[in-house]
Symmetry: C2
Subunit: 594 residues, 2 copies
């Protein structure tokens, strides 16, 4: 069941739908000419399909090993593939050119990221966590720290981690206990225990740069007393090379349901040397740069694993001969028809594809906003793009992982009994994807972020701009060649507007009422975002057909999109009704009666 990267879909999204060539005057996009993008897609597919994907199943079975000296070995082949990846320059794709990065647009790097993650999500987390460390350092590091660390991190020579969670505190960081004591040389001595540290220890890179939340002695209690520190495994020497071993180590590996190939570490810091990033007590602000980056990455992970599981299900369905079509044999020369003749099997495969292709369109649209927020020439465009990025980050994270899980479930179901055995990849995909609904803030936390923070932010500016964006699109395309898609978008957006108004009227006075329906509201938001992308994709496909293209890709796109309209969008009304139920029934039951 080899992995197949969605190259054609990215060509379509980058060129036909987003038309990134229109931004060629912007920094970042200048080097992203169509042939460069094409080469990245093709070479990225080749590398991830041929080098990374074969490591995925064995890595799941083998897992990571912690040795008595606290070193950790990843599954066989991981290190070699990692080094090959660094050698080829892949980690630096979207990195800042000032520090050796290739400076390509985030939307292009996103295509590669999906491929890497789909090929092996456990493997992709090793470079993935580094991206977060780069983001935090870029924002909070001194020029000296940036010059020392960023080139190595961007190249992938060194790697990064995020150290937030402690045994008694996950979502509620205000409870954290790790402490930092100022040292005479301006650094800090960091002590504490951190858990669930992905890629916390391994032997791929010359150094591992831990980003650690801790409380400076005497700091205020709660979240306003938390600072962020850079705590490298090896303290760089005068030449910037890994020098003295810092006093931190991996004390245990977590036994997890999935992502076995990634080392999920218990980390112990004992007066480890750390450098403060940003201001004291303001660590969460910087951590959120890292976190938002990570949340988009987790949404991508949901999409990527979903796609990989779908590829396996399609291949299985084509091969498996069982039963006959209800309308008479389709392969009378064979003992049975392939299970692709069964409507319910096609339903599962096509609903999956409608979610994946819509989700991919949504993800790339959001990734483009990240580029525009950074590179657009006028302030208003940057601000609007930034608003969209901020508003939609929780939707990307939660909706794409919820739907990614649905896709892996259906992909397993297509396999029948084979899917439950560990001989086929369906089980691993399902075990691997499950964490995406949890980490970097559970999907419930994302929903609360959307409803409690992102919607009311700046007087609702972002959500109003998003509605205006869709309204303008609908007005322009309502009578166009993709009218049924525009109508689906219009109706779904109307429900989202209805839900938003309900939140405004009911959530102000009773935050519990808003929170009670927040995940349903987020799903309604996700449906609208996918409907928007499907409208754009349908219009682009229809335009290509109208221009004379006979590539079946375009007619297939419209066919898959139709499944989205008919079989996914009907969920909108159910979400709206559920969210409007409010919180009364949820609080009627006494705690003791649970």
């Amino acid at each position: 069941m080899p992995y197949k990267a969605p190259v054609r879909d990215y060509q379509f999204l980058l060129n036909d739908v987003l038309n990134i060539a229109q931004y060629s005057n912007l920094k970042g996009f200048q080097d992203a000419s169509p042939d460069v993008v094409q080469a990245i897609l093709e070479e990225g597919a080749k590398f991830t399909e041929e080098v990374v994907a074969p490591l995925n199943a064995p890595g799941d079975k083998e897992g990571c090993v912690l040795h008595p000296d606290h070193s950790v070995t990843a599954p066989k082949g991981y290190k070699e593939a990692y080094l090959q990846m660094v050698e080829a320059g892949w980690p630096a794709l979207g990195g800042d050119p000032e520090y050796g990065g290739q400076g390509l647009p985030h939307v292009v790097a996103t295509a590669y990221s999906e491929m890497l993650t789909g090929a092996s999500s456990a493997f992709a987390m090793y470079p993935g966590l580094t991206d977060g460390a780069v983001a935090a350092l870029s924002v909070g590091g001194t020029d000296e720290l940036k010059a020392l660390y960023l080139p190595k991190l961007i190249a992938g020579e060194w790697s990064g981690t995020m150290n937030l969670t402690e045994p008694h505190c996950g979502t509620d960081l205000g409870l954290l206990r790790s402490k930092a004591v100022p040292d005479s040389d301006g650094t800090y001595k960091i002590s504490g225990q951190k858990i669930w540290i992905s890629a916390g220890e391994h032997d791929f890179t010359g150094n591992i740069c831990h980003l650690v939340l801790a409380r400076i002695e005497g700091a205020p209690a709660g979240v306003k007393g938390i600072s962020l520190f850079l705590v490298p495994k090896f303290i760089p020497d005068a030449n910037g090379n890994p020098g003295e071993r810092n006093s931190l180590h991996c004390a245990g590996l977590e036994h997890k349901m999935g992502i076995h190939g990634n080392s999920t570490c218990v980390m112990i810091y004992e007066d480890a040397k750390g450098w403060l990033l940003g201001n004291a007590h303001e660590g969460l602000k910087i951590m959120f740069y890292m976190m938002n980056n990570a949340r988009l990455g987790v949404g991508l992970q949901g999409l990527a694993i979903g796609h990989a599981s779908h590829v396996a299900a399609v291949e299985f369905a084509k091969d498996r001969l069982q039963g006959r079509a209800l309308t008479g044999p389709k392969s009378p020369d064979k003992p049975a028809d392939s299970i692709l003749v069964h409507p319910d099997v096609r339903r599962m495969l096509l609903e999956s594809r409608a979610l994946l292709e819509g989700g991919r369109g949504f993800l790339t649209w959001v990734a483009l906003q990240a580029d525009l927020a950074k590179y657009a020439e006028d302030e208003a465009t940057r601000e609007k793009a930034n608003d969209f990025l901020s508003l939609l980050t929780p939707v990307v994270k939660a909706y794409l992982t919820e739907k990614g899980l649905k896709v892996t479930q259906d992909s397993m179901q297509v396999h029948g009994g084979s899917g439950f055995t560990e001989h086929f990849p369906a089980s691993q995909y399902m075990r691997d994807i499950r964490i995406t609904l949890i980490y970097e803030g559970t999907n419930g936390v994302q929903a609360l972020d959307l409803v409690g923070r992102k919607l009311p932010s700046k007087g609702g500016r972002a959500v109003m701009a998003y509605f205006a964006e869709i309204d303008a699109y609908v007005a322009e395309h309502e009578a166009g060649s993709a009218a049924t898609f525009v109508k689906g978008l219009k109706d779904t957006k109307a429900r989202l507007m209805d839900g938003t108004m309900w939140l405004m009227q009911n959530g102000m006075g009773n935050p519990d009422a808003a929170a009670a329906g927040s995940l349903d509201y987020l799903c309604l938001f996700g449906l609208t975002a996918l409907a928007y992308s499907w409208a754009q994709q349908a219009a682009a496909a229809q335009a290509a057909i109208d221009a004379g293209s006979t590539d079946p890709f375009y007619t297939d796109k419209l066919k898959v999109g139709r499944v989205f309209l008919e079989r996914i969008l009907p969920e909108a009304e159910a979400h709206l009704q559920k969210m409007k139920a409010g919180s009364e029934a949820l609080f009627a039951l006494e705690d003791d009666s649970f």
Copy 2:
């Protein structure tokens, strides 16, 4: 996270809702006096909570071992618990008194089965498969075979298995190749390979009685040439004791995502001695007795694992302190509030409970139909009950497993990151429950059975009787004290009726159209069935309150039911719309384009 059996809920369902005392004149029910039932519930809870549940997590980690001599060892403690269970007479609860069973109603035995399965589904499958063998033997065995085997099987001294699947054939049994050659003594020599044989080999019982589908030499091709054989591991000697070893063995154990404690075997038969059950070439007919029994058991498994996972989630939520209530601290003396203060956590727990309690009500109602089909005094009642049982079997199997999976997903989500580690039981429940959507016919196959076979059977007699049953209930209770529940039932049933009409109008001419929406139709059916049970439960709870009971169980029941009305029933319309989309979009895409 100890397992807690739903004793109180069964007391309520058996006494207040179904009022089984009203059937005390019927065979089977005569011995099921309220105090006997109460003793069974309490002792069943004690045995399953104290003896079986502690084996569940260790059994998952240890799994089964196949030895070079083809013997299989189950996880530590399984055998002792099994023997203790047999000693206490639990397997014989619902068995035919003519063969040593206790002859209690199926609906009472169902309560115990849920407890056993919830305590450990992998363990419960060992006696569970025997029930199917008993069903097949009772229908297809000669008096001699029945006298020899049934007492030992019913007591649990011997166990049974179902051997259907071969590597190339699962759902499509017409393809099977195992063969049977008549021997001079009237028995058959059975040869072939069977896979995924649950409890196929172990050392708990003196004998293992395999029920094997095979093709008698010269039999017609396809499903009409399949016969069913009893093939014991040991051939009983003249005294009925296990004698000569039959030529069959376990050649391998399946590596599965879950239910590790159950031995899932590859079985090899090499001229093994077998006894024909029923007529030659009519094996499927008997197999379906076994299968229907097993399908109800799988639905129960979905409910039972869902309940167990929910119990663990509730306990975790009460213990875990994280964050503060949106409306201000609830436990100001503690570092944080328990996560039970968060609306989204309550939503997950209460939606789960609404599905579980509704599902349990539905399951017991169907179990009662099995009793009425067997024991009711007049032919018309027996026939109607049998119609309901047959109609609703696929709904029990598929809907309760779909919703059981949703419950385990939400139970894991309540755990946050802890849920993804193997230190908490959430992962095992999720891995264990996943097979229930697949085996004994995937849920897609159940949906096809409902739409293609059960609906049109006898001119739609069963479904029309079911609608009439609900209509009569609605007419009688519409103005009663549980009116909101009756309205929810009425509206949902109206949608189901609408969907049924659509199937009649569109499915006749185009079976693909009916099949395309079959799972959505089945879910709509399941929603209606749960709404019916919730209406009954609400009425019973309200009656108890009106009669002066101050037991908070009754008011809690109404509160949980309200969550069902507000947050589960809105799905009905979405299912209806999706099913009405038909099959056109699913067949628009060419096979090569998948």
